[in-house]
Symmetry: C2
Subunit: 455 residues, 2 copies
C-alpha cells in the first residue's frame, strides 16, 4: 500500500458540471400530474433556488466548473482530501502485473462518500433561509451524512427511515441521533402517505419509495422546510465530482493514469463522482479509458432495465425522469449492499450508458463478499458491501491482466467502509448468504408495469 | 479542524525506550511459583527472544532509540502516519481561547492504536519461527488488531474472547474472522484452566483474567505457539511511542507545543504511547508540561489503587509485577469503555505516577458520553468510549482556560473511533446509562486480598 495525500491547499476549488459538455441536453423532467415538462418553479417548494439552478445548469451554474463555496470547503476539510492508495499488497497477493489504485471515501465522518453532497445541500439551504431539512434513508448511509451536515450548519433534520432498517439497524439510527437528527420509522403517522400505508398494515416494513414520498410531503407542508436527496439528481452527482478531481491530481503525483475506472452503481452518485472527471479527460484528450459501472444482480437497472420515463417514489409525488429502470414496482431483493437497492438509475448515468460511453456489469453478493475479504486481508480495510462491488470488478480485471500478462492500470472507488455492515460478513462467513438472479419473466413483468409517458 | 499530515517518509524510524532514561530500574518481575525475580529464560516459552530483550531493555535494546524494522515500517504505512488535528470547530463551539490538538489513531485498520504493537509483535514472532499466536480479548480491540497483524505475516491466530463479549459483540468477532483468526469463547474446553471454570458453571460469562490464563496455557502447550499481550508490558508501551514521536513532529509543523498532554488509561498502552516522548522532552528541556491520565471511576487503579505486587491473570500463571492495582479480585463494573476495565496498570506508568511525574483523574461514564457527543457534532468523529475519557478531560481543560482567560495548548489522544460502540451511545441518549463509584470499604476489601510479596 502506498498513499498519495494531497494537502488541504490542494483540495479542488470547483465541481465539474458535465451537463454543459454533453452533445445534447438531458431529456426533460416530467410533472407527475400534468405529464408536461416542469420548470424551476415546480421544484421551488422542495429545493432552494441555487440547487434547482445547479440541477439544470442554469444561471451562474451554466458553466463547466462550479466554484465550491468557501464555507463548503471548510467543512470538506473535516475529512478531505481523501487518500488515493496504491494497493501494492493486494497486487502481490493476486500476483498481478496490473497496478491497482483506489480512492478511499470511507474516512468521512459517516464512513462513505455521502457527506460530499450532504454538506453543500445543507449549506445552500442554510443560505436560502431554510430552517429544517427532511430526507429518507434505507441502510442509513445517506441519513447519517445529512444528519452530520445539518449539525454543521445548525439546521433541524428529520429522517424518515425505512421501518425494517429502523428495527434492524439501531446503530445507524444512533449515529444520526449523535449528530442531533430526529428519526422516525417509515411509514409514519406524521404524513398522509405514511398514514395510508399504516392503515393497510400497522407493521408495514416500509420501502425507500414510501419514505421518499413521506419526506417530500413533509417538506411541502412547512414553509421553513425543504427536502434533500442523496443520489440520482444532477446536482448531487456534480457535488460528488470532488472525488474524481482529487483522484486526477493524486494520479499525477503517482505518475499513473488508469486504463479502466471502476465504481459501484446504485442511484449513481459515487459512480458519477469518480468517473465524470475521467469521462471529461477521455473526451478532451481522446483517450481510450474504459469506464465500468458495477451493479448487484439483485438490482440490475443498467444491465437488464430499460431506458424510459419512470417514477422515483411510491406515492408518485415527485417528477418523472428518463432513466434506466426496472419499473417502480420492482422491489430489489434484500441484499446487504442496501445502498444499491434502487429500481432506477441517475438520468445522467443512464444517458451515458445509452450512448455507450460507459460499460456495466452485474455481480452476485457472495462473489463480492469473497473479494472484500481478499481485499481486507491485504489492505487492512473492510469495505462496505456497496464498495465491494468495485473491489470485485477490480480484482477480476487484475486477474485478467495476470492471465494475459498485460500491464494495466486500474482505478476504483472504495466509497465506504463496512464497520456497520458486519452482519453481512458474518452471514457470508457462515455460508448463509443467498444470491439473487431474476428470471427474465419477472423482469419483463416489472417493466410492463412502467408508466406510459412520452416527453 | 486543521490537519497536520506527515508524509510516509516522515514516519518515525525508531521507538523511544524510556527504560534507559529512568533514574532507577523498574522493580523486578516475580515468578508466581518461587516468589523470586525471574530471568529472560522464564519468559522464553511464551515470548520470542527479541521481545523479551525489549521488555528488559537488554542486548541490542539497551538503547534509547530502538530502530523500527523495515518490515514493520512497511506495515505501519497501511495507516501511519496518523493525522494530528487541531480541533478548531470544537474550540469555537466551546468558546475557549485554548488551542486543542488531538492525535487520531482511529484510522487504523481495526479502529484503534492497538495495531501499533500487534504488528511488531507478530513480526518478531514470525522472525523467530513462531507459526501461531494466542491472545485474549475482552471488548475486541486487541483481538482484532492481532488478527489483522497475523494476516499480514501469515501466522495462525487464536483468540480467547471473554464469553459475555463473544455473545454481546458478534461483530467484533466477525471482524477478527474477516482477518482469518480463530475465535473461541472463554472459558473454553480447549484448556485446563478453561475446563475448570466450565465445570463450575457451563455458562460462565468469563473475564479478562481467565482468558489470559487460557491463552498463556495454550502457548505453553505447543512448541510452534507463542503468546501476545496488548498492553501493560514495557515492550508494548515502547511500540506505541510511535504515536508521541509523530505528534512531536506534527506539532512542530503547527508551530505549537502542549502545556498539557492527556490520554485515557486502562492497561496503559495508548497513554504511554502518546506521553512518553513528551515526558522525555519535559526532562531534557526542563519544561513544565502537565501529563494527565484519565481513568474511569469504574476502574480507578491510579487514583484509588495501591502500588504493590499483584497478579495479572486469574489462574495466576503469569509473573507478578509491581503496579498500581485494585487487586486481582476486583472486577470493574461493566462500563462501555471495555478497554479500560482492568484492575491493574502498566508498571512503567505506575512508577511514573508514584514519582509524581504524571497526574491522574477518574471520570464517570455519563460525563464522558456527553463530551463525546459535543466532540462528534463539532469535529465529525464519533470517539470510542475509551478515547472519550481524554475528550472529556480536554474539554474540561479548555473550559477552565475560558474561565481564566488563559491561552493554553492542549494535546490529547483520540485513540479510537466508536463505530463498534454505538450501543453505549444509544443507552446514553435514552438516559439508560449508569455511573459507578465504589464505596471506600469495597476498594479496601479488594486491596486487603492482595498477595503478600516483597521483592
Amino acid at each position: 500500500m502506498k498513499k498519495y495525500h494531497l494537502s488541504e491547499q490542494e483540495l479542488p476549488r470547483a465541481w465539474y458540471n458535465v451537463l454543459v459538455d454533453l452533445d445534447e441536453p438531458l431529456p426533460p423532467v416530467i410533472h407527475p400530474g400534468t405529464g408536461k415538462p416542469i420548470g424551476p418553479d415546480d421544484l421551488a417548494p422542495i429545493f432552494p433556488e441555487e440547487l434547482i439552478l445547479q440541477e439544470v445548469a442554469a444561471g451562474p451554474y451554466a458553466t463547466r466548473f462550479v466554484p465550491i463555496p468557501d464555507e463548503v470547503l471548510e467543512a470538506y476539510r473535516l475529512y478531505r482530501p481523501t487518500p488515493l492508495i496504491r494497493a501494492t499488497r493486494l497486487e502481490q497477493a493476486l500476483g498481478t502485473p496490473a497496478k491497482i489504485f483506489y480512492k478511499y471515501e470511507g474516512i468521512s465522518p459517516t464512513g462513505s462518500h455521502k457527506p460530499n453532497t450532504a454538506i453543500p445541500q445543507a449549506y445552500y439551504n442554510k443560505k436560502a433561509g431554510t430552517k429544517r431539512l427532511t430526507t429518507e434513508t434505507g441502510a442509513g448511509q445517506w441519513g447519517s451524512a445529512l444528519s452530520f451536515a445539518c449539525s454543521i450548519y445548525d439546521l433541524e433534520c428529520k429522517v424518515y427511515m425505512v421501518r425494517i432498517s429502523y428495527q434492524q439497524k439501531p446503530y445507524r439510527r444512533t449515529l444520526m441521533e449523535i449528530f442531533g437528527a430526529n428519526i422516525v420509522p417509515s411509514p409514519s403517522p406524521d404524513t398522509q402517505a405514511g398514514r395510508k400505508f399504516l392503515e393497510e398494515d400497522p407493521n408495514h416494513p416500509g420501502s425507500l419509495g414510501i419514505a421518499i414520498s413521506e419526506a417530500v410531503e413533509d417538506a411541502l407542508q412547512r414553509e421553513d422546510t425543504k427536502y434533500s436527496l442523496g443520489s440520482v439528481l444532477n446536482h448531487v452527482l456534480m457535488h460528488q465530482t470532488v472525488i474524481g478531481e482529487e483522484a486526477l491530481k493524486q494520479l499525477e503525483l503517482a505518475g499513473a493514469y488508469p486504463d479502466v475506472v471502476i465504481a459501484p452503481v446504485g442511484g449513481g452518485s459515487n459512480f458519477g463522482g469518480l468517473i465524470l472527471p475521467f469521462y471529461r479527460e477521455k473526451k478532451e484528450r481522446n483517450l481510450s479509458t474504459r469506464i465500468v459501472a458495477v451493479e448487484p444482480t439483485a438490482a440490475p437497472s443498467l444491465t437488464r432495465g430499460v431506458y424510459t420515463y419512470d417514477f422515483g417514489d411510491t406515492a408518485h409525488i415527485i417528477p418523472l425522469v428518463k432513466m434506466h429502470t426496472l419499473g417502480s414496482t420492482f422491489i430489489p431483493a434484500p441484499i446487504h449492499a442496501g445502498g444499491l437497492r434502487y429500481h432506477g438509475m441517475a438520468p445522467l448515468i443512464s444517458y451515458l450508458y445509452e450512448k455507450q460511453e460507459i460499460e456495466a456489469i452485474a455481480v452476485p453478493q457472495t462473489a463480492i463478499f469473497q473479494s472484500a475479504i481478499t481485499f481486507a486481508r491485504a489492505e487492512g480495510i473492510v469495505p462496505a458491501p456497496e464498495a465491494a462491488h468495485a473491489v470485485h470488478a477490480a480484482i477480476q480485471e487484475a486477474l485478467q491482466a495476470k492471465e494475459s500478462g498485460e500491464s494495466k492500470t486500474i482505478l476504483f472507488n472504495l466509497c465506504g467502509h463496512g464497520h456497520f455492515d458486519l452482519l453481512g460478513y458474518e452471514k457470508f462467513l457462515r455460508g448463509e448468504l443467498e444470491d439473487f438472479e431474476y428470471p427474465e419473466e419477472e423482469i419483463q413483468k416489472a417493466i410492463s408495469e412502467l408508466p406510459k409517458v412520452e416527453a
